[in-house]
């Protein structure tokens, strides 16, 4: 199979994954899920940087974008979950139920 077509198809996959992940992160309920998906988003972004020949950026995105940022978000989710009033059944339901009157 032609290498060019294969590369192009891969690019479409990467871009599609990025957009799908962004929608999932921002619009699906569950903050813990958003945090984990955010880490995945960072890793797919690393692949995108490699495809665009930005190797330094890829390294930085992997450690900082996916690693440190993901860790920060998970830490925040954990603390929001731990101190909030016990409506949530665990990490999957953190803090997204609306404040119903």
């Amino acid at each position: 199979m032609n290498g060019e077509v294969l590369a192009g198809a891969f690019d479409v996959l990467v871009v599609g994954a990025l957009i799908a992940l962004a929608v999932a992160i921002l619009f699906l309920p569950g903050l813990f899920r958003s945090g984990v998906l955010f880490i995945v988003f960072g890793l797919i972004a690393t692949v995108a940087w490699v495809r665009l020949e930005a190797y330094d950026v890829a390294l930085a995105e992997a450690v900082i974008g996916a690693g440190v940022l993901g860790l920060l978000v998970i830490q925040a989710v954990r603390q929001l979950d731990a101190s909030s009033s016990g409506e949530s059944a665990g990490m999957g339901d953190v803090g997204d139920r609306g404040r119903k009157p």
Binding site: P29, Y55, D56, A58, L59, A60, V63, I64, G67, V68, L71, L72, Q75, A76, R78, Q79, A82, S83
Partner: protein, 227 residues
């Protein structure tokens, strides 16, 4: 989620769609990049002290921006540490966990080696201070989760010094170049190589300390609220 879509969604959608469409159009209009600037970098690469273009840009041609970036990191670290909950020094984890401590003992040397490799490779290929600093911070976090005590970031003067040394590296370079009669942060080709290596070393230390402290602050706070 209730069946009706709230009003703000309908309100925001046209505005965002217009902005996005305008951006795409602007993207299509600015069709050509600016090859002149990239060519300028390549032309001056030889005397810049690094053979990797990105490193040369970061630490020589646009060194001032990197300096200010280190200042931003310093401010972020300071602000985050101040915004932390009330706790004094680092609380040690229970050193009991076998898997975590064993993993740390085995992996940390490899991680440290990886960090050194990334830093050393930075002048001639991908790598450099930021990536290496983050890897070192990751190694230190492995040690922390394995139950080992991190002495260097336990607060006090040593911790402050570690945070500051990166910014100070640039400051020293600026003072040296200005005192030598050149424009500030303009490296003579003879000194550019060692200057870049020195600044990268200092920056790596600061970046590692900053990232480490930011994550540790959150960890300590979480454990303060755990039962």
């Amino acid at each position: 989620m209730n069946g009706r879509v709230p009003a703000r969604y309908a309100l925001a959608l046209p505005g965002v769609a217009v902005v996005t469409g305008a951006l795409v159009r602007a993207l299509m209009l600015t069709n050509e990049g600016d090859p002149a600037l990239g060519a300028l970098v390549q032309a001056n690469l030889a005397g810049s002290g690094a053979s990797h273009a990105v490193t040369a840009v970061l630490l020589n041609f646009r060194g001032y921006d990197t300096w200010l970036e280190l200042v931003v990191l310093l401010v972020a670290a300071t602000a985050t540490l101040r915004a932390r909950g009330d706790r004094g020094e680092q609380r040690m984890r229970e050193p009991g966990e076998l898997v975590a401590s064993g993993l740390a003992a085995r992996m940390v040397p490899v991680v440290l080696l990886l960090g050194v490799l990334l830093l050393a490779n930075g002048t001639s290929g991908p790598g450099g201070a930021f990536q290496a600093g983050a890897v070192f911070a990751a190694g230190a976090l492995l040690m922390y989760f394995g139950g080992y005590r991190l002495v260097l970031v336990s607060g006090g003067v040593v911790q402050d010094l570690l945070l500051i040394v990166g910014t100070f590296g640039f400051f020293a370079a600026a003072v040296a170049t200005t005192a030598a009669g050149m424009r500030t942060l303009e490296f003579a080709p003879r000194f550019a190589g060692p200057a870049i290596v020195g600044i990268e070393l200092a920056a790596t230390v600061s970046i590692a300390a900053t990232l480490l402290l930011i994550v540790l602050a959150a960890e300590e706070e979480s454990r303060a609220s755990d039962p």
